[in-house]
Amino acid sequence: MIVETGAFALILAFALAALQTGLATAGRLRRSRVLAGAAEGAALAAALAVAVAFAALIFAFVVSDFSVANVAANSHTDKPMLYKVAGAWGSHEGSLVLWCLVLTGFGAVLARARNLPFGLKTSAVATQGLLGVLFLAFAVFTSSPFARLNPAPFQGASLNPLLQDPALAFHPPLLYAGYVGFSVCFSLAVAALIEGRANSAFWPAWGRWVRPWALASWAFLTVGITLGAFWAYYELGWGGWWFWDPVENASFMPWLAGAALLHSAVVTERRGALAGWTTFLALLAFTFSMLGAFLVRSGVLTSVHAFAVDPQRGMMLLAILGVTAGAAFALFAWRAPRLKGGGMFAPVSREGALVLNNLFLTAACATVLLGTLYPLILEAANGSTISVGPPYFALTFVPLMAVAFIILPAGPLLAWKRGDLKGVTQRLVVAAGLAVLLALLGWLMFEPRKALSAAGIGLGAWLILGTLAETAERTRLFRASLAETLRRARGLPLGAWGTTLAHAGLGVFVLGAVVETGYRVEAARPLAVGEAIKAGKWTVRLDEVRIIEGPNYLAEQGRLTVTLRSGAAPREVTAERRFFPAGGQTTTEVGLDFRGLDDVYVVLGERGRTEAGAPAWNVRVWWNPWARLIFLGPAIMALGGVLSLMDRRLRLAVGKRRAAP
């Protein structure tokens, strides 16, 4: 009964989204506040209906109702409760309901926004409703998670064991909040193209309305992607955290477009300039989100992460992508030429720096897009197959970003309209000198010596120091009294602190990524109990292997001791190979020994024999120096986004005072 309620609620949500679109369109055409108000009510009701459907689905998983096909295919009575609940969004159908929940939920928040002018808001609500109609139709008609089985099986097929991890509870919801958050930017951009006028106060106000959505979505996406990378790092047991896999790329493209959007929206907000470009990016970010959904769910690309591979559904998603993006970009091509104007600026200025930022981010996004889709395009064109992997991105994406990072610290120091390059250089000379010094130090400190990695260390340090130099400049650190500096620090807007944190966090990430990639040490060999293996300065000894029984798996659990070369600082780690009888699958549980910023990463492989014939286990050990920074950096960046979001200027009430008519 509850399951049928869920199915009904999902269909109801589809109808309500259609109603929302119709009412908002009629309200906009007739300039009727009553109709527009009804559309907002429908938006709210649609979100509630999807929430009911989602709750019903979770209920079906919690009680293991195997008469529901989706539950039977993805759950099992022995599964721990956390994974029963999280399993609700572990499959294609369930995750699509989550997608719709975020879409309509954000749509409801948009409908409740009070400070938007009538025309813009009503058009945006109509657009958001239309997106809801398309995705809910997809969910209801082709991917319903509530389909019944008759007869119901006694036991479920269980969830892919790789997914049975606490990260499943958080990674998809955060990722989707990011992906789908951009839908509001998309709707606001479409509305602006319909309603917007050139040379008015409209664009600065629009920039202010779209920025919180872009910031929030980008921050969610940052956390979501990082969590996914960390999950892959400790669950796959390959020692790496980013593989330039098509599915990873699919989540990275909206992130890059969103980052460009954040920066370009600042120019639009402050100076009314780049209106057309910002609109374009707002459309692009959600288009990439939809492209990602298509790539992951259609099976056109081979990936270690792909799930629910089904060409038929892929065609549906491609159709949704084609219709929405096609219509939006056609509207853009039609209306954008009228959006000229806005404040003017010299090439060397804050605006100029932000344009440069956009140039690099867009080019970087293009490398990811080409690298992801090119094998498909080439195969379709002439049948030849190629692979695009890490070496390609190391030669295209990385140099582009490196140049962008060299320029980055100068940006926030430049004045609007016309900047003083000489003054900026003077302010950054200390940071630059220190960064070069740290690069040299890195070159001496790490073995083997690598010039490029040392330069990368310098680059990361430059990002952190250059960013802090700007804050020091604004608070007159060391040049005024401490009390004066503190007073100024308190006076700085939250947005400025957000920028500082985000840019410094990027530097932290770069340090981690460069050092881990450049200097990680890997070792592997079969170990009998009592034998040890060396990786760099670490020695890992296999103490014991025993068989343990988990809630829904059997495991070989290895207890290993990690010591420094001299035998000092011993610490015990456990690494497991788990066998899940329900699906007949085996997974690895990595043993991670956190040593300051470094990880000692231990994988217990399959059982074999030593040359003498004794039982031995293939043990693989990585020493990943500074790996902690790889995950810390993005967390700092997301925090920066949250701080910016809390800035007074972006609060709704403040925007109202200066809102355009």
Partner: protein, 168 residues
């Protein structure tokens, strides 16, 4: 997930083997005795794709064929062949697909140079348009006038006296 399946197939020295394991378990990796040669091998493994897997390097893949390919690379290194020769040999056997770095040829020019050409083109357009618009001649718009007045009005109680106009 094919990977998981492959693990299931390739694994199992010990726990209840599922019926599907017809493929013999791969021979355990034997490192090359020379450390420099082994390091070269490891570096190559990261750039060579396992031909039956989903986007996995042979360094990471548990599949039997990946182990065979690792063995092949090590043999050739021990035989004194260069990295380029080894890659050439792999491409001859398996096609361009086997390398994670696609070749630069007519069909992949767009892939390799597209982003840079795009960037250069956009930069050129931007430079041309900004050069045509002179900054000095721009008068303040009514909106800017209003904001300027607001800033001056608000400057009395500003807490950050030398912040740029952007920071109010």
């Amino acid at each position: 997930m094919k990977r998981a399946l492959l693990i299931a197939v390739a694994s199992l020295g010990l726990i209840a083997a599922p019926a599907a394991s017809r493929e013999p378990p791969p021979a355990p990796d034997r490192s090359l005795p020379d450390a420099a040669q082994e390091a070269r091998a490891q570096a190559l493994f990261d750039d060579i794709r396992c031909v039956v897997c989903q986007h996995e390097a042979i360094a990471d893949s548990p599949a039997g064929i990946a182990a065979d390919m690792r063995g092949l690379v090590r043999e050739q290194i021990a035989a004194g062949r260069s990295d380029a020769q080894i890659k050439q040999d792999l491409v001859r056997r398996y096609g361009d697909f086997v390398l994670f770095q696609p070749p630069v040829r007519l069909g992949t020019w767009l892939l390799w140079f597209g982003p840079f050409v795009l960037m250069a083109a956009v930069a050129a357009v931007l430079l041309l348009t900004t050069r045509r618009r002179r900054v000095e001649t721009a008068a303040l718009s009514p909106d800017e006038e209003a904001r300027l007045a607001e800033i001056i009005e608000a400057s009395a109680d500003r807490r950050d006296p030398d912040a740029k106009s952007s920071d109010h």
